[in-house]
Symmetry: C2
Subunit: 360 residues, 2 copies
C-alpha cells in the first residue's frame, strides 16, 4: 500500500477533526469502535503540538492537554479522497431507461442466490444500483416472500400486515386488490417513514393481462430537471398531502413528490395520485404545481421509460420504493392471479451487501 | 354548520384542482375513496363551465368534457383555511424546556391507558406534541415492551432484534450495554429510515444511578437558529456520515444533524458522536462545521434543557427518536438494572391517535 501522508501532511487536517477521530483506546471503546466522548468533552482550543512518524502510523500529540493519538497513515490517506456517500441518492445509482435493461434484467436463480454469497451480492447490488432485481424459481408456497426478505433484512409490518395478498377481493380496501390497470406509482406515500423496499412474490398468474412494469423515478426526475428546471423546483419544494384511511387507520404524510438532499441530489420520489389529497395553496401556486405535476407525469408515462415483464409463479421482484414506480396491466378478475408482497428497508439490505462485499 | 361557499366562490379554486379532487363515483372508488385516474388522464384545458348550488352541495360542470362533480360546500369551505400539516415538524409540536414539564410529566397508568380510549388518546397526543409519554404500572414481565408498542403500532425489527435488552453485558456491542453514563443522543443515526419511535420498559432498576434524561432536540435546534443562524445553516445542510458495524452488520447513513423540510420547518434531529464518522470536507468547511457542532452541543448540554426522572420497574417511556435526545446517568455495573427496548414508527402512532380522536 502506498502512503503519502507525512508528519507535515497531517497538518492539512484541522486539529478538532483529528481529535474527534482519534483512534486511541481512551477515545474509542476497543470492544465496539464507538467514541467514548462528546464534542464538548474536547478542549475548544485544540492544537497539534507535534507528530512522530513511523512506517504505518503518525502519532499526533495534541495541545493543550498532551493527548496522543496514533493515526494509521493508510486511513489518513483515504480521508483525502472524496466520500463515496451512503449510496442512497442518485449519486450512488445507475439510472436507466427500458432499453438499457430489455433482455438483460438483473436476475438470479433462487438456489444460487440462497447458496452463493457472490450471487447474493450481485442481486443486492442490483437493487442498490438499478433499484430492483428478480429472483426466479423460488418456492411457490405462501409466506415465501417473508423468507426472501429475511435473506437480507426484516419485513416491515404495517396496517396491511407483515405480508399482504395482492389478488381480487370482493370489498377491496385498495385498488391493488381489484383487476384494474394500475399506472406507475410508488407505494404508501402517506406513510412516514415510507417503506423503502417492496417485494412482490408470484404464486399464480394465469390471468389474461396482469403484466408488471417498472419505471426509474430518478431517471424521470432527472429528465424533468433537465427539461424544466422550474417544474423540478416546484415539485421538490411543495409539500403534498397524502392520506389513506379505513375504519381503524388514518395515515397522513406531507412530503414533496421529489425529495432532494441538502446537496441537491435526488433522494426519494413519491408518485401516487390515488392517495394524493387536496393541496391548500393559493390559486397561482396551485396552477403552477399542477402544470409541473402534469409535466412530471408525462415524462413518467413515456413508453421508453417503462420496463415490462411478466411475473411467473416462483418469481419475486425486489424493488426500491423510494425510487422505482411499479405498475401492472389490467387483468380479468375471474383469472387466477395471486401475489404476496411485503415491505422492508434499504438500510438492512445495503448493510448485508456491504458485509458480503467485505467493505464493512 | 356555516357554509360560505357559493357558486361563484368555487371559482377561486383552479379548475384542475377541482377536477383532481372531484368526489364523484367515477373519479373515486366508492369502496375505498382512492382516485381512479392519474393526472394525465385529465384534460389539459379544463374549465368550469357552470355551477349548480343546493343547500349543501355545489355541482360543477367542467369543460371541455362536460364531466360533473358534486362538491360538498362544507368540504370546500374547509379547503380555504390553511392546512394543519401532518404534525411531523415543529409546526405541529409544543417545544419544551425542563421547567415546563417538571412535576407534570405526561403520564398515565397502564390499566387506564389500556382500557380507556380517551386516556390512550391523551398519552399518544403527548408523544406527538411533546415527543414522549410515560406509562406506569405496566407488567414487569419480559416482552411487555412489544405488547405496549402493539397498542398503537408495530415494532420495527432491526439487527438488534425485535426487542433489545439494555443491561450490562460482558462483551458489549454498544456502549448502551455497559454501566457508563450516556450523554443525550438520538438512537441509530446510521439507519435510514431512522426508527422514529423508541420504547424503553423498566424491568429492574436497583442500581445506584441509572437515572433517565430527555432533551427536546427541536428546542435545542430552535435556540441554535435564534442564536447563531449560520451555525444552524451549516448543520442543516452538511451531510454527516454515521456508521455502525459488527461481524454481520455494516450500517451507514449520511444525513444532516438537523433536517428541515422544504418550508424550513424542523423535521429530524440526529445527534450521536459515538457513531459519527470522519467528515470529508475541505479544512475551512471542517472547521466551520465543528464550530457549529460544538455550539449545538453546548445548547443541548444546558441544564435547563435536561428533564430527568427515574424509571421504576413497570415504567415505560415512549419517545420520538426524530426529536428527543435521551440520556442516562452512570450506574454501578454490579447493580441490577434491566430495561427492554424496541423501536417503532410514528406514522402508525399518529394514525391510531387520529382514529381515536375521530379526525380520520
Amino acid at each position: 500500500m502506498t502512503t503519502t501522508t507525512t508528519g507535515d501532511d497531517v497538518l492539512v487536517f484541522p486539529p478538532i477533526w483529528l481529535r474527534d477521530n482519534c483512534p486511541c483506546e481512551h477515545c474509542r471503546d476497543p470492544r465496539n469502535g464507538q467514541k467514548l466522548f462528546g464534542i464538548t468533552d474536547l478542549p475548544a482550543d485544540l492544537t497539534v503540538r507535534g507528530t512522530e512518524v513511523s512506517a504505518d502510523t503518525i502519532t499526533v500529540t495534541f495541545g493543550p492537554d498532551g493527548h496522543r493519538g496514533p493515526f494509521s497513515r493508510a486511513w489518513l490517506d483515504a480521508q483525502l479522497s472524496a466520500s463515496s456517500g451512503d449510496g442512497r441518492t442518485e449519486a450512488g445509482k445507475r439510472l436507466w431507461q427500458a432499453q438499457d435493461l430489455d433482455g438483460r434484467l438483473p436476475a438470479a436463480d433462487w438456489a444460487a442466490y440462497r447458496d452463493d454469497p457472490a450471487e447474493r451480492a450481485r442481486v443486492l447490488s442490483a437493487v442498490r444500483d438499478l433499484g430492483f432485481a428478480l429472483l426466479h424459481g423460488t418456492p411457490t408456497e405462501e409466506e415465501t416472500v417473508l423468507a426472501i426478505a429475511r435473506t437480507f433484512g426484516y419485513p416491515r409490518e404495517t396496517n396491511y400486515g407483515t405480508l399482504f395478498d395482492v389478488r381480487v377481493e370482493p370489498d377491496p380496501s385498495n385498488l391493488a386488490f381489484t383487476g384494474m390497470r394500475i399506472a406507475p406509482h410508488t407505494d404508501n406515500p402517506y406513510r412516514d417513514p415510507v417503506p423503502t423496499l417492496q417485494l412482490l412474490h408470484c404464486l399464480a398468474n394465469a390471468a389474461d393481462g396482469g403484466d408488471s412494469g417498472l419505471v426509474d423515478g430518478f431517471t424521470a426526475a432527472s429528465l424533468l430537471r433537465a427539461e424544466d428546471e422550474e417544474a423540478f423546483r416546484i415539485l421538490s419544494t411543495t409539500l403534498v398531502p397524502f392520506a389513506w384511511y379505513d375504519a381503524g387507520t388514518s395515515l397522513r404524510a406531507d412530503r414533496p413528490l421529489i425529495d432532494v438532499d441538502p446537496e441537491g441530489h435526488l433522494r426519494e420520489v413519491r408518485f401516487n395520485n390515488r392517495s394524493m389529497q387536496a393541496l391548500r395553496l393559493d390559486p397561482a401556486a396551485t396552477t403552477a404545481f399542477y402544470a409541473a405535476y402534469r409535466r412530471f407525469a408525462e415524462i413518467i408515462a413515456r413508453p421508453e421509460l417503462l420496463l415490462t415483464f411478466r411475473l411467473d409463479p416462483g418469481d419475486c421482484v425486489i424493488f426500491d420504493n423510494t425510487r422505482l414506480l411499479h405498475a401492472r396491466t389490467a387483468f380479468a378478475e375471474s383469472g387466477a392471479r395471486h401475489l404476496q408482497g411485503c415491505y422492508a428497508d434499504l438500510d438492512a439490505l445495503t448493510s448485508t451487501l456491504r458485509t458480503l462485499e467485505g467493505t464493512a
